[in-house]
């Protein structure tokens, strides 16, 4: 306990810096992944061939260990933030893509027909019917991706991307249990907080479903 207090009194600024780095890398990767995977997922819901290809590739990517994806970027892109962001983006795309495609495809046909029968044009059908109905499934994919990204960003410290993983790897290198506990607890807390924040957003976006209970 003494060690922990001592650490924060001497390394407080470094600590905040590492938290920010961690969030920075995670948010950047997740944002790029969303920008790629959501439009692709929507396109997949329209074209069975595209869906077959992307879901197949995504399925393979989900099976490959995250460390392998992270490590294989190093010979191509070197070390630092860039390979980390590329790897994390690659890891984040599959869950978002699969769920977005599923969400848009499983909008009930009779609902679409009713909307068109009421005189909605395709643009209105898309924004007023498809997007709200597909949102929960798609967002569940984003949540999965976010927790994966925060976890893998910890590993990315090993390839020089910074973040809270640095504390853990330093602790492992020097066998300092105080650093291990601080790093481990911080990463755990961060990932739980991110999960809670995203489920709060989820609930906020569709209050009608939670109002019933």
């Amino acid at each position: 306990m003494q060690d922990v207090i001592a650490y924060f009194s001497t390394h407080g600024a470094d600590y905040i810096q590492m938290v920010l780095e961690h969030l920075n890398v995670s948010i950047l990767s997740l944002a790029v992944a969303i920008l790629v995977a959501v439009p692709l997922g929507i396109a997949c819901s329209r074209s069975p061939l595209l869906e077959k290809i992307s879901v197949g590739v995504s399925g393979i990517l989900r099976i490959i260990p995250s460390l392998a994806v992270l490590v294989v970027c190093v010979p191509i892109l070197g070390t630092g933030v860039l390979p980390a962001v590329v790897a994390l983006t690659v890891l984040a795309i599959p869950p978002i893509l699969i769920n977005t495609a599923l969400g848009f495809r499983s909008v009930p046909v009779d609902v679409l027909e009713a909307a068109r029968g009421m005189g909605m044009d395709e643009r209105l059908v898309f924004f007023k019917i498809k997007v709200p109905l597909a949102f929960p499934v798609s967002f569940a994919g984003i949540r999965t991706a976010a927790s994966e990204v925060v976890a893998s960003a910890t590993l990315a410290a090993y390839i020089g991307a910074g973040g809270l993983g640095q504390i853990i790897f330093t602790g492992l290198g020097l066998m300092r249990t105080d650093l291990l506990v601080i790093g481990g607890a911080s990463v755990a807390a961060l990932s739980l907080l991110v999960g809670m924040l995203l489920s709060a957003i989820d609930r906020r976006m569709r209050p009608y479903e939670f109002a019933k209970q």
């Binding site: 393979i60 099976i63 490959i64 260990p65 995250s66 460390l67 392998a68 994806v69 490590v71 294989v72 190093v74 010979p75 927790s147 925060v150 976890a151 893998s152 910890t154 590993l155 090993y158 390839i159 993983g165 853990i168 790897f169 602790g171 492992l172 249990t177 291990l180 506990v181 790093g183 481990g184 607890a185 911080s186 990463v187 755990a188 990932s191 739980l192 999960g195």
Partner: protein
């Protein structure tokens, strides 16, 4: 391309040793995970509310990065395979317990009632009726757990648990491109092959049960 194959050929024994370690870790972890998951499921099955609560806790635990759990356990159980196994077994609980519970709850209550009416004891009902009917769902959970274990076991190399991660980390440390690329290809191949094999078993078992 040729260089990567040449490196593989000259260091094949090292790759194979790491692969062997990795498979042993996976086997041990899966065996422990199944045993613990069976006990946990038996303990929580009586009440839906307890089931929900326990699954929520396991889900939260599952979302914590493995490196964080490893480092929190090192002060208690030290470096090495013990800490790694505990963490991986804990992660698998979410996947296994969730699927076992889901599978058992999906069994038609009428079938259970019929079995009880025929004079089966609760244990017989569980072993002879509910488990076989729930098996496809349980098997899907086992496959997910195996794939997740293969992934996390590579990370466990950071705390000296051995396995394929050792190759990746030592390749990174010495910036040996051949080692890095061959190591990642091997890792990916192991995970993909395991997935195909387990899917095959799943299909076989499901077919046999539904007959």
């Amino acid at each position: 391309m040729g260089d990567f194959v040449a490196y593989w050929a000259s260091h094949q024994d090292k790759f194979m040793a790491a692969l062997g370690e990795h498979l042993v870790i996976m086997g041990v972890v899966l065996a422990w995970s199944l045993a613990v998951a069976a006990l946990v499921t038996l303990a929580i099955r009586r009440s839906r509310r307890v089931e929900g609560a326990v699954l929520q806790v396991l889900g939260a635990l599952y979302s914590v990065p493995s490196l964080a759990l490893f480092s929190l356990l090192i002060p208690l159980t030290g470096l090495g395979l013990t800490s790694a196994t505990i963490v991986m077994v804990a992660y698998n609980q979410f996947l296994l317990v969730r699927n076992i519970v889901e599978g058992l709850n999906g069994v038609d209550p009428g079938v259970v009632e019929a079995a009880t009416g025929m004079g089966m004891s609760p244990m017989q009902v569980l072993l002879r009726v509910e488990l076989p009917l729930a098996f496809p769902v349980i098997m899907a959970g086992i496959r997910l757990a195996a794939i997740s274990t293969i992934g996390i076991a590579t990370i466990a190399a950071t705390i000296n648990a051995g396995g394929l991660g050792t190759i990746l980390f030592s390749g990174l440390r010495t910036m040996n491109v051949y080692k890095i690329v061959d190591g990642t290809v091997l890792c990916a191949a192991v995970a993909l092959v395991a997935d195909v094999v387990l899917k095959g078993i799943e299909k076989l078992v499901t077919k046999r049960i539904s007959r």
